[in-house]
């Protein structure tokens, strides 16, 4: 398996792979998994005043999954909720050159982020 320099960089130093404090104000969380693909993702978003103030994720998955989750988290942090909800995970991760057989794992990242938005919508 070949890994692009971007995957190596994000896998080796995934700055957003962290746990946000559970009692942090405005915290929403979403999980997604696919057992056949051996992938599990949890995203946490801290949403305050219509802005994604902080992002954290946890991941059980391959290097492409970890790198993609980090790219997504990096992009989300600091965006307005309105813009963040329009996230295009595949487009955002195009530079990672994820092999086609792994694109299903990117969908799980989309699912985890979507789960966050659902929680946010239910709460607001």
């Amino acid at each position: 398996m070949e890994y692009s320099p971007a995957v190596v960089r994000h896998f080796d130093a995934p700055h957003w792979a962290r746990e946000l404090p559970r009692d942090a104000p405005g915290l929403v969380s979403g999980d997604a998994e696919d057992r056949t693909l051996h992938v599990w993702i949890r995203f946490q978003l801290q949403l305050i005043d219509g802005v994604v103030r902080a992002v954290g994720f946890r991941a059980f998955g391959c290097p492409h999954t970890v790198a993609a989750a980090n790219v997504v988290a990096e992009w989300l942090e600091g965006r307005s909720v309105a813009k963040a909800r329009g996230i295009d995970v595949r487009g955002l991760c195009a530079h990672l050159t994820v092999p086609v057989e792994k694109l299903g794992k990117l969908l799980r990242i989309e699912d985890a982020v979507a789960a966050c938005w659902r929680t946010y919508s239910q709460g607001s």
Binding site: R35, H38, F60
Partner: protein, 387 residues
């Protein structure tokens, strides 16, 4: 930024011993003759080939004339299975093998099945044994061949090929043994063993790649799989690669299981002692019946591909190097009852002649750091990620 690589993948392949490469280089520079030629140049090459055949035979207890040189154990396995089972196309033919053989046996078995050969795949026990009773129970009146490897390439478990062979002899069935991981590493006395065909290779034993041999007991007949010459008693056509064969002979001459195996087992045990401190780490394969150079360990809670990538400065394998490009979990570990996830989170460490003692604690430290980092990354993951 990356640390110097530590090589613990001797079960995949081994560095060529300098004495082997020197002998091969000398042969390439001086002896270009075709060993089948009758002139003096050819006869000198023939002498080198026969000396190598004698050295290989001496190491595995085989009369030299019972060895056929091939391009490696994969070809030897192909020749053994196809050569025996395609002898009699008219009658029903049956092969018995196990689910934890090397791909170079299993894929041949699958191909033979496509051609109408019946195949029984015997299950392994959770500790990696292929029980002789299960193998012998699978034999039918149509069985012509049983193929069981000596030392499993992923777990290092030593199969009881002597008991299997004795049972096969009593039933008039041939036994083929893939000894790619055992020859020169654990005792093997082919002439005294109830083994009819045995595959050997050079490169696992600090010899060159691209050369191996197939041992044939006196009563065994084969149909050749390569045509176009009468080399190797017409069993394997093609000009003999004198320098390769010489290199294999030198490698087998240098291999000394009595001296090397205890040192390798001590290195392996030190590695396990260091890795055992990692929470949840567990060995795969019966520690009481295992070749000294292989250690297979599962690290629950870490995803396998990420573990291997995080350890890219440590040369180890997920399983067979021959299946390294496959996304599928090790068929050996799943065949022993491990889940796909746990099989994926397993690493095969294999030590060898040039493994230094101080590399062992450093390797273990790198593994411990990678496992800790990936477990933190997957904190709160559901149970299936660890089971």
């Amino acid at each position: 930024m990356s640390a110097a690589e530590i090589y613990l993948d001797y079960a995949a392949t081994a560095p060529v011993d300098p004495a082997v490469s020197a002998a091969m280089a000398d042969c390439l520079a001086r002896e270009f003759g075709n060993p089948s030629s009758l002139h003096a140049t050819g006869r000198r090459a023939r002498q080198l080939v026969e000396a190598a055949r004698a050295a290989v035979g001496a190491r595995v207890g085989a009369p030299p004339e019972r060895l056929v040189f091939t391009s490696g154990a994969t070809e030897s396995n192909n020749l053994a299975l196809q050569g025996v089972l395609l002898r009699s196309r008219a009658r029903r033919v049956h092969l018995v093998t196990s689910r934890i053989e090397h791909k170079s046996v299993l894929d041949v078995a699958h191909a033979l099945e496509q051609g109408g050969v019946a195949v029984t795949y015997v299950d392994a026990t959770p500790d990696g044994h292929v029980e002789p009773e299960r193998v012998l129970e699978a034999i039918t009146p149509d069985t012509q061949l049983v193929s069981i490897m000596h030392v499993n390439n992923e777990t290092g478990v030593i199969q009881d090929v002597l008991a299997i062979g004795a049972g096969c002899r009593a039933r008039g069935v041939l036994l083929h043994v893939d000894a790619a991981q055992s020859a020169g590493k654990v005792p093997l006395d082919l002439a005294a063993a109830p083994i009819d065909l045995c595959s050997l290779t050079a490169h696992k034993l600090c010899g060159p790649k691209g050369v191996g041999a197939l041992y044939l007991a006196p009563r065994v007949t084969l149909v050749p799989q390569l045509h176009g010459g009468e080399q190797e008693r017409s069993l394997r056509a093609g000009t003999l690669a004198t320098h390769q064969i010489l290199g294999m002979g030198k490698a087998y001459e240098l291999a000394d299981p009595a001296r090397e195996a205890p040192r390798l087992a001590a290195l392996r045990d030190r590695l396990w002692q260091a890795l055992a401190g990692i929470e949840g780490a567990r060995q795969n394969g019966d520690p009481g019946r295992r070749a000294g150079h292989i250690l297979n360990v599962s690290f629950p809670g870490v995803e396998g591909e990420s573990l291997r990538f995080a350890l890219r400065d440590l040369a180890v394998s997920a399983g067979s190097a021959c299946a390294a490009d496959s996304p599928e979990a090790s068929h050996v570990l799943t065949g022993m009852g491990r889940s796909d996830v746990l099989a994926g989170s397993s690493l095969r460490f294999s030590v060898g002649r040039f493994t230094a003692e101080d590399e062992i604690p450093e390797a273990a430290a790198r593994v411990a750091a990678a496992v800790a980092r990936l477990r933190t990354l997957a904190e709160s993951a559901p149970m299936w990620c660890s089971a």
